[in-house]
């Protein structure tokens, strides 16, 4: 379903979506993030790269699995805490983030479906905004199988035509959104499609960064486990969690019991994001840590994205959003690291 929405009608469209919780990029203290908005806040759709990716909406940094409580008869009561499935819509999702969600779908789906993830995921409609300009100087989606107008993972893709958006519904969920604001949308005129294609072709040329000829990287990484390259490339790493927490495809988590009362015992089992960059991530209860230093942790980050994930799913676990490059306090650049792997020993 292809439609046209005048930009001035965007706030009215939001007003028609009152049954949804609406997220869109908002700026606070000079940082863009997806925030819950009301139709009144939604004066315009912002063309930006947020700090925290949209993954946080389907895979929140903290969520509950169940609550537990000691009962009077010395028993234990456990009640599952599934997330609500109220409908959610996220506006302004970058195509690289939509693609990233298809990767977390693989991880949380398949043989062992994660009900917590899917409850949110199924209730969420992702409205992408194609990138007319790369929203970050470190965008490199084209190099890892994406594009500034990729439709993967999105339910609806908006392309900015200047005064209006070209809206392509890509799924039933996307169509539902257009139907909710039906009378605001008009049929595309002949030539609009060509305009969209032109904008998309132009935007591909504006991407600055490139990670080329990486077909050999997964195989190469296999033989580089003990390479000194990891020591060299991680010398300036300060061991924070920015590169992974803010990666739209990183999905590692921890589970803990958060005790609320000690007697009688009660509390919740909680899932939080975790990262391979923290020292306790692989800490064994024996006291042994198989990844004791930053070199082994950088290796894990690269190996997971460019070897292990490729072996399991035949896809890179990187969609080229460039957040890990832009936000790294010491400028560790995943493009440069992977290029060094590619050229290693050549």
């Amino acid at each position: 379903m292809d439609k046209i929405l005048a930009k001035k009608d965007y706030p009215q469209w939001l007003a028609k979506l009152s049954s949804y919780r609406i997220y869109a990029p908002r700026k606070k203290d000079d940082v863009w993030n997806y925030e819950i908005i009301t139709a009144a806040d939604g004066d315009r759709l912002e063309d930006v790269m947020t700090a925290v990716p949209a993954k946080g909406i389907v895979f929140p940094q903290r969520e509950f699995f169940f609550e537990f409580a000691e009962t009077n008869d010395n028993g234990t009561r456990i009640s599952e805490l599934l997330p609500e499935d109220n409908p959610v819509v996220v506006f302004g999702v970058r195509p690289c983030e939509g693609k990233a969600v298809t990767l977390t779908d693989l991880v949380f789906g398949g043989e062992f479906e994660d009900p917590y993830y899917w409850k949110r995921r199924n209730a969420t409609t992702l409205v992408g905004l194609g990138c007319a300009q790369p929203p970050s100087p470190n965008c490199f989606c084209l190099s890892v199988g994406g594009s500034p107008h990729s439709k993967e993972g999105l339910d609806l893709l908006l392309t900015d035509l200047g005064e209006a958006y070209f809206a392509e519904a890509l799924t039933k969920k996307g169509e539902k959104l257009i139907l909710a604001g039906q009378n605001l949308f008009t049929e595309p005129k002949p030539g609009d499609r060509t305009k969209v294609e032109k904008i998309q072709a132009e935007s591909r040329k504006k991407i600055r960064r490139e990670l080329s000829r990486i077909d050999n990287v997964p195989a190469k990484l296999k033989g580089m486990f003990d390479s000194s390259l990891w020591d060299d490339e991680s010398m300036s790493c300060i061991r924070c969690g920015i590169c992974t927490y803010l990666c739209p495809t990183c999905h590692c988590f921890d589970m803990n019991d958060e005790v609320e009362t000690a007697s009688p015992l009660s509390g919740k089992r909680v899932r939080t994001w975790d990262t391979c960059q923290f020292p306790d991530f692989t800490m064994h209860s024996s006291g042994h840590n198989p990844r004791p230093d930053k070199a082994s942790r950088l290796r894990q980050r690269i190996n997971h994205k460019f070897q292990y994930f490729v072996e399991i799913w035949q896809k890179y676990q990187c969609t080229g959003c460039g957040r890990c490059i832009s936000l790294c306090p010491v400028g560790i650049d995943i493009i440069k690291v992977v290029e060094k792997v590619r050229d290693h020993g050549a």
């Binding site: 940082v31 300060i238 924070c240 010491v330 650049d333």
Partner: protein
């Protein structure tokens, strides 16, 4: 103005003579307008050295790594590590000397004066250049920065895009160095605690609301801790399971281990984390501002540390990181201590 060739010449000289193990300095990041930390091992590596307003990082952070590396080194290379240090960074060296984290002979300091300038604030620059792609930032004449974008070159008054920490700086000239470059004229700041004073003028409820709002943003990536040269604890309180767990620790002992804070980024835990960090930096923070720069969600962390710096100054007349022979604030006691319970 600092002549980069002088810096390079000295770096080459000490590397050539084998006087230092390696030098920690700044290089141009590939495909970026910013500088990156670099580790120079040979005289040829020195060609990479740069000095410009994007040399934000407090490289003293890497001396903490070096100490750990040295502990595992066999045989131990006793030579010092060379380090390019701005004024603020040099104060971090002083604090680490006071705390006996390392000895003076373990470091060879290539001090660089920020003169009347400093480093740029990335967010201020982005606003000033209005989304243009920045290619280069250089020190210019008349306290200007020369900013090159895709659209050409522009001059911006340093005061408009300098990092706040540089506007409040009380040590533009390194306080400890083996080789000092640049103008040695010291800068004075009329009101180094201006932002703190403004915060202090608010009511308790207003301050509480402000910080609650700020800490809500925290994603607990710990970049603030990780960028800090003073956060050198072997085991950090936030890395929950490292505490005293060895091959001999029994299951029962592990179960009874105290968990100081949860991983959940909720108000109580976020506040706990940031206040623990702030308190641990009292009388130690030298205001390099790296915590605040590293923060991906822009929490004004400097203000917490600045408040404690002010307390140390007002209560004890203590200036952090100027005199390596002076005992550290929290490890000394004077008869004139305003608290009488301690006598």
């Amino acid at each position: 103005m600092v002549n980069i060739e002088d810096l390079k010449e000295e770096a080459r000289r000490v590397l050539k003579g084998g006087k230092v193990k390696y030098i920690i300095g700044y290089e141009r990041a590939p495909d970026s307008w910013k500088a990156n930390p670099v580790f120079l091992r040979t005289p040829e590596d020195v060609d990479k050295l740069v000095w410009d307003p994007t040399c934000f990082h407090n490289l003293v952070r890497f001396l903490v790594d070096e100490k750990r590396r040295k502990a595992r080194e066999k045989p131990v290379d006793p030579r010092p590590v060379g380090i390019v240090a701005k004024g603020c960074d040099s104060r971090a060296i002083v604090v680490l000397l006071q705390e006996k984290f390392f000895e003076r002979m373990d470091v060879f300091v290539l001090g660089v004066s920020c003169e009347s300038s400093g480093v740029v604030d990335e967010r201020k620059l982005a606003k000033k250049t209005a989304g243009k792609n920045v290619r280069k930032v250089a020190f210019g004449e008349n306290q200007n920065f020369v900013v090159t974008t895709d659209d050409g070159t522009m001059e911006i008054a340093a005061s408009e895009i300098l990092a706040d920490r540089c506007l409040d700086c009380i040590a533009n000239v390194p306080v400890v160095s083996d080789h000092l470059l640049g103008d040695k004229a010291k800068r004075t700041v009329a009101r180094p605690f201006q932002a703190v004073e403004k915060m202090e003028s608010l009511s308790r409820d207003e301050r509480s609301a402000f910080w609650k709002d700020q800490f809500k943003k925290c994603i607990r990536c710990y970049a603030c801790r990780s960028a800090c040269p003073m956060c050198y604890c072997e085991e950090c309180v936030v890395d929950t399971i490292n505490f005293a767990v060895t091959a001999d620790t029994s299951a029962e002992e592990k179960a009874q281990r105290i968990k100081w804070l949860e991983k959940s980024p909720v108000d109580s835990e976020n506040v706990f984390y940031h206040l623990v960090r702030a308190i641990h930096l009292a009388g130690r923070c030298i205001d390099c501002g790296e915590c605040e720069r590293a923060c991906p969600v822009n929490i004004p962390l400097r203000m917490l540390n600045k408040k404690l710096e002010k307390e140390a100054k007002e209560l004890f007349g203590y200036d952090v990181g100027f005199d390596a022979d002076q005992p550290a604030l929290i490890s000394c006691f004077r008869d004139g201590d305003p608290e009488d319970f301690i006598r």
